[in-house]
Each structure stands twice: as structure tokens, then as C-alpha cells.
Amino acid sequence: MTHTLKHHWLAILAGTGLSAAALAWDALPLQVPVPADNPQTEAKIELGKQLFFDPRFSSTGTISCNTCHNLFLGGDDNRPTSMGVHGRTGPRNAPTVWNSAFHATQFWDGRAASLEEQAKGPVVASVEMGMADLDMVAKRMRAITGYQAAFARAFGGDNPVSIDNAAKAVAAFERTLITPNSPYDRWAQGDANAMLPNQVQGLLLFDQLGCTGCHQAPFFGGPNKRGGHFAVFPFHDGEYVGTYNLRADMGRHAVTGRKSDRHKYKVPTLRNVALTAPYFHNGAVPTLDQAVRVMATTQLNATLFEEEVAHISAFLNALTGEFPSIAMPRLPPTPGASIPTE
């Protein structure tokens, strides 16, 4: 077929409003999904940031969101499982808060449908912030005069200081925690030199092996579907399953009770994964290289050559994005007391 003829066909296609563009790699979007009932505002985001860093909403006044989701690191705590009040540790590894707004559901098992819902969980978890109940949290917030004004600015209304509003504020702040412009993103936008050759090789390998089946570009997490999406881990048997005790946790089954949900988890984003060791739901795997080997074996029944592991790890390092600079907020004081008296 002649070039002209082909041109005609394409012109006809263009007339139908459809594009013939081949599938390409996309960069991380700069806009996160925002729920209609919680629009982003400056005041809300600023309040959310204060609450995120404020340890006074833990029973001992020592643990804030940032304790386990350290924004000055990879948005987690680099521990196998997090340490909450009284040195208690939980059952699962802290997921990164960076880019969490792109996840369809929150927590490893997806038991929270939104960041708003998620924010209410850890404050009252006995192994995390350890508050007895959410009413107690609300009381503490109201007892801090500075917060009354901040909530009023952010939400207005008669009774602005509420758990729901606090969760909305924290979620709004978390929706600003995105890390674009990773080497991968710049490469996807056309800068061929943004990734090193072995990183590009790693990406192609990552794709060919089938990793992108679950870790889908550009978020490199599960699909953003209504109700979330969950995958079985570990899928195949093998020595790593025992070595790292990967089947002790029932995953989403514990939430739904459904047999089909056994060992199912939300597919976590791999953005900034190089910064969030140790790995997996139980944090049992200490290094990124080893995590790559475990995933290849348990999910794809593939044993990788060491060179392949290195390429994939190199690519995963290219998912480390640009972190917005964050100034620690001043928190409204509680003069004369470390935590508000109850």
C-alpha cells in the first residue's frame, strides 16, 4: 500500500476522533484523584499536615503518623513491622505514604476504601497510636485551642473539630505527597538519557517477565478499580515461602472471610521502593535484590540470573521520584502540659 493511501486511512481515522497511537509508557500523573466531598484547600492541607506530625493523638504522646510514615525518608519507617506506643509492634510492614493517594484502597488488605477512612485506623490501634477510642481523640483535638481555629478555617460550620474533619484534613495533606519526575518519568516523557541503559533493560525485563501484570504503569501498583484490586501472594510454592514465612498472614481473608481472599493483598506501588526496605507485608525480606528474587519465584515461577536481578533493581531505583520539600509545621501548643489533660 502506498504511503499516500495509508495517509488517507489515517486521516479518515482521525476524522472519527480516535487515535492510532501505540501503547506507550506513561509518567506519573501530577493530579491525584480527589473525592467530591473533600476538595483540596490550602487551609485543610495545612491542618492535615499539623495533625500528621502531631504525636499528641497517641496515648503516650509520642507517636505521630510521621513516626511510621517518615516523610523525610521513604514515607515508611524501614522496620520489618512498625513500633507503636509502649514499644509494641504490629503484624505488618508500614506501607509508604508517598503517592498513597493513587491507591484504590488503603492498608495491605484494602480494608479502608479511602485515605479518609484509613486515617482513623492507626490512632486507635493498640500497637500503633494506642488511643482508647476516636471520641478521646476528638476531645484532645478540641482541648488544643489552636486547632479549634485551624479546623474552623478549614471546614467552617458549627462544630468543625471532628474526627471526620480531621481525617479529611489528613487525607487532603496526603494527597499532596506525590513524587513525580523520577528518572523513569523523565524517560517516559521523552528524555532518553534519564534512565541508564541497564535501567531501561530492567524495565523491559520487568515488563516481559509479567511483573507489570500487577504493578501497572505509571503507578506501578495495582489498578485503580472501584473496591480495589487484590492479588495472591505468594502464588507459587518454593523455598522463600518458608524462609520468609510468607503464608502466615491470611491477608484480605481476615477482612472478608472469603476463601478466595486467602493471602490476597493490595498490590503496593513500587514508586520509591528502593527507599522502603525491608519488604513485603511482614517486612521479612531485607534487601531490594532479594525482594526481586522472591517476587520472581513466588509470583512468576521464574528464577532470574543475577544480572537480571541487577537490571530490575536498577530499574526500581529509577522509580525514586522528586520529593517536595516539607517544612516541619509549628503545632498549636498545649501550655503547661505535654498532652492535653483528659
Partner: protein, 496 residues
């Protein structure tokens, strides 16, 4: 009848009715929701599509093919650039569809869309936009743009064929149940990504027949009957379904047709393997999803990914499907008579099939004598890329309810002439000619040609001169004869 007896009888009748009602109730209570909606959905009419459990679907209920293709790479490679992937986008189809929608006051939107974008129809996102293209065009949620995509077939949980107006597969007689569970033909399938459900329907020709069997939605005339053709063919007798030829490479399909065995029974088919990256069970056959038929044009013209491979496969298929033979004899009255025999060697349906009144398979015949004189010429393309009406064309002649010729599917009420070639069957093209007295011999060159549609159709749909419909030579045969009508080697003739 005494009143007591009547009362008793009414009691009995009442009891029976009550038992029947409770049986029906318990049956429906235990029937999974996807089985309940085996009646075409009102919202999808006049197509026979249904949504399991009468759910209201959103475009987001369907995944886009690239998500599936990351694990099902082999299937994705086949599907990309297939006519299934272009079922919605194909500009020729869109133009035809636009004319249909305008002529039927909108009924054709779902009527055609049911198969061409089942996602668009079940989600109600397919819309007609009269401002697009030459005749109008269509928009749909992006999930629906991919035509017959992974999610269409693998969301199918049942069939509405029994409850459709014709009681047969056709007009999108499918029940869609999109969600975590994917339906497919593999037993003991397990996936870490989605739930799996074995579906016997997916192993059968009836599955494909859900769309490859099209009845006029009002007069019920079978406009396209590929499934029905198969059903009354030796292939159906041998339990060889559509999938065994159209979901394997052409080389394997040819073996299926030559041996009349299932694809899995073709020696050394080489199609075994994993159905997905990281899958647990090695399969006897992993099906290609290229669904290669006769269309070697659209994908390549649109520059779709995988188009060149599809074009090559389609050419291979077209060039291996039929066979030619010929003989020459003295006919009644002294003229010579050429008979060209065209055999449908390897298609499990007629040649051509589907739009038998639009697809063109014809004979191009040239007879020249030893002195280079043209004795007979038939089926030659003219300056307008068309053949004349005396050409031997294998196809059906369609008319509207008034008996007027039409090729608009929405107007067709019957066929007045049937000339397609049945599976394993043949038809003749006959030509009379008069050899000059001084000719010592002659040469016959026969070509079997194919066009997806006539140039006039392309001109009407896309605008005059927009495209030149390519002609594909399916088969050619040259023979030389002496004046005694006995076949000779071409060289012998030249030396005489």
C-alpha cells in the same frame, strides 16, 4: 360436578400450583445471579446482549486490554491488530453503522454495537455523533473503543440464545458479567490476579456464533450466517469448532482442515505452554487470539500495532483456503467450453461468509491463443477498480422487501441468488469461447481474487477516491491446451 368435588379439585390445583411456585422459587434462589439473566436486556435491545443479574454497568467495570496483556502476552500479541481489536474503530464499519443509525432512527446503535462494542452498549456509553466523519461517527468510553476486547469475551457468563427472538446464537446473544471472575475454556485454571471460572460455552462454536450469526432484528432474515454454515458442514460433524482454525496459526489451521481433526490432535502443533506469565498449569494448546480471517487491509491501513503480522496471516489464509481446477471441452453447438472449478478446501464456512453480498471473491479468466490473440477475458478490474456484471462472483445477491437490490444490511429482506461455496464443496465458473480456426492451441490463465468490499462501497462509505480497495490473489492456475483441447505443457505449445 358437586360443589364439594369442585372445591377438592381446586384445592388440588392450588396445591400443585403452590408446589410448582415453591420449586421455581427455590430454583431461582439457588441459581447464581449470572444464570438468571439469560434473557436479552431491555437496555441493550434490539441486540440480544444481557448483563448478568440485571446489573447497571459502568465503563470502569471493564479493564482495558493492556492490563490483561501484561500477563497474557501471547494472547495480547495475537489480539493486537486483529479485526476484533478494531471492531469499533474500523472506519468502514463506522461509516456503514452511521448510515444504519440514521436510516433506522437510532435502532442500529445497539443492533450493530452489541457485537462491535458490547462494552459500549452494556454501559450505555456508546453515542452517535452526526458531526463526525463523512456520514457521522461514534464515541464510547475508552474501555469500549477496543471492540471485541479481552474483557468482552472473558466476561461472558452465559448465552441468551435460547431466549432470543430467533432462539439461536446470534445478534450478540451473550450475558456479560464483568468483575473479578474471568470466564474461559481452561479447566483447573488458577490465577493470582483474578478469579477464574471454567466455561464450556467458550470451547464451543456457539460462543463465536453469538456474533457471527446475524439476523435482521425486525424481519429476522439471516443476513450473516457463518455459524449456521458451520453447523451444517463436515466440520461440525467432526466437532471442529471455529476456535480450532481461527485461534491457531494458519499452518495449524490448514492441517486441521486437511486432516479434519481437532487442533490439539495435529501432530507437532507446537502450541502448548502457559496461558499466562507465571501460570501454574502447562496447557496442551494456548490459543492465539488473532482470529485471522480474510481482512488483510484495515489493521495495516490504520497502522495498528501487530498489523503487519495480521496482514501476513490473512494473506496466508486467503491464499490457502481455496483450490482451482479447470477443464475444456466442446460444448453443445460447437463452441468450446471452459469450466473452472473452485473448491472451498479449508474454510469451515462458506466462501465468502459473513457479508456475502459485500465481500467479493471472483474469477479473473483470460484465454489467449498461440498467436497472442485474446479469445476470452472475464473478471478484469476496470479503471474504477471494479469488475463487470458478467463476472463470475461467488456471493449472494440481496434485496429489500420490495425485491429491489440493496446491500444495506438494515434493508435486506432476502437473497435472490445464492452463489457462495460451501465447506469442502465447490462451484463452477463456466465460459464458452470460440477458438479461431487457424489457432494451434491456447492458454488459460485463471485467478481467484478477493476484495473485502467493492470499490463502490468504499467510495460511498469513505468518499470517492479516499481509498483504493486492494485485490488479493487467492489462487492462480495456468494451463495450455492444443487445438484438440488436450492439455499440453506450456513449453510444448510455444514450440509448435
Amino acid at each position: 360436578m358437586t360443589s364439594t368435588l369442585r372445591n377438592r379439585m381446586m384445592l388440588v390445583v392450588g396445591l400443585v400450583a403452590g408446589i410448582a411456585a415453591s420449586l421455581m422459587y427455590s430454583a431461582s434462589a439457588e441459581t447464581p445471579p449470572e444464570k438468571l439473566a439469560a434473557t436479552p436486556s431491555v437496555a441493550c435491545k434490539p441486540s440480544n446482549l444481557a448483563v448478568a443479574g440485571g446489573r447497571t454497568l459502568k465503563a470502569e467495570d471493564f479493564e482495558e486490554p493492556q492490563a490483561c496483556g501484561k500477563c497474557h502476552q501471547r494472547q495480547m500479541k495475537g489480539w493486537q491488530g486483529s479485526m476484533h481489536s478494531l471492531a469499533f474503530k474500523d472506519p468502514v464499519f463506522q461509516a456503514e453503522w452511521a448510515l444504519a443509525v440514521k436510516a433506522t432512527e437510532g435502532k442500529a446503535l445497539n443492533d450493530c454495537g452489541g457485537c462491535h462494542t458490547a462494552i459500549g452498549v452494556t454501559t450505555g456509553t456508546v453515542k452517535f455523533d452526526p458531526s463526525m466523519g463523512k456520514h457521522g461517527g461514534f464515541t464510547v468510553a475508552k474501555q469500549g473503543e477496543h471492540g471485541v476486547s479481552c474483557e468482552v469475551c472473558h466476561s461472558v457468563s452465559g448465552s441468551t440464545a435460547k431466549n432470543s427472538p430467533t432462539g439461536q446464537p446470534g445478534n450478540a446473544s451473550l450475558v456479560l458479567n464483568p468483575g473479578e471472575t474471568k470466564y474461559g475454556p481452561l479447566l483447573k485454571s488458577v490465577s493470582g490476579y483474578h478469579e477464574t471460572q471454567y466455561s464450556e460455552l467458550h470451547t464451543k462454536a456457539e460462543f463465536c456464533g453469538s456474533c457471527h450469526n446475524i439476523f435482521h432484528s425486525e424481519n429476522k432474515f439471516p443476513i450473516e450466517h457463518t455459524y449456521d454454515e458451520w453447523k451444517s458442514s463436515p466440520y461440525a460433524q467432526a466437532d471442529i469448532p471455529c476456535q480450532d482454525c481461527h485461534m491457531v496459526p494458519v499452518e495449524v489451521a490448514n492441517q486441521v482442515a486437511d486432516r479434519m481433526v481437532r487442533a490439539k490432535d495435529v501432530p507437532n502443533h507446537g502450541l502448548g505452554g502457559l496461558a499466562a506469565k507465571g501460570a501454574k498449569v502447562e496447557r496442551e494448546i494456548v490459543h492465539d487470539h488473532g482470529f485471522v480471517g480474510g481482512n488483510a487491509v484495515i489493521a495495516a491501513a490504520l497502522g495498528s500495532p501487530g498489523a503487519e503480522e495480521h496482514k501476513a496471516e490473512a494473506l496466508k489464509r486467503l491464499q490457502g483456503v481455496a483450490d482451482l481446477d479447470m477443464d475444456v471441452r466442446v460444448g453443445k453447438g460447437g463452441a468450446q467450453e471452459l469450466r473452472v472449478k473452485v473448491t472451498n478446501l479449508r474454510a469451515g464456512h462458506h466462501l465468502p461468509t459473513s457479508l456475502t453480498f459485500i465481500r467479493r471473491i471472483w474469477l479473473d479468466v483470460a484465454i489467449t491463443d498461440d498467436q497472442g490473440r485474446v479469445i476470452l477475458r472475464s473478471g478484469e478490474l476496470d479503471a474504477n477498480n471494479r469488475v463487470d456484471e458478467d463476472t463470475v462472483i461467488f456471493g449472494n445477491h440481496s434485496v429489500d422487501k420490495a425485491g429491489k437490490p440493496t446491500i444495506n444490511p438494515w434493508e435486506i429482506a432476502s437473497f435472490t441468488q445464492l452463489n457462495t461455496i460451501p465447506p469442502k464443496g465447490f462451484r463452477f465458473g463456466k465460459y464458452a469461447f470460440k477458438l479461431p480456426a487457424d489457432a494451434k492451441g491456447f492458454k488459460v490463465v485463471v485467478k481467484l481474487n478477493y476484495q473485502s468490499y467493492d470499490q463502490a462501497v468504499a467510495d460511498k462509505l469513505l468518499g470517492k477516491g479516499a481509498v483504493l480497495v486492494p485485490t488479493i490473489e487467492m489462487k492462480a492456475l495456468t494451463r495450455s491446451y492444443g487445438a484438440d483441447l488436450k492439455m499440453v505443457e506450456a513449453r510444448t505449445l510455444a514450440s509448435r
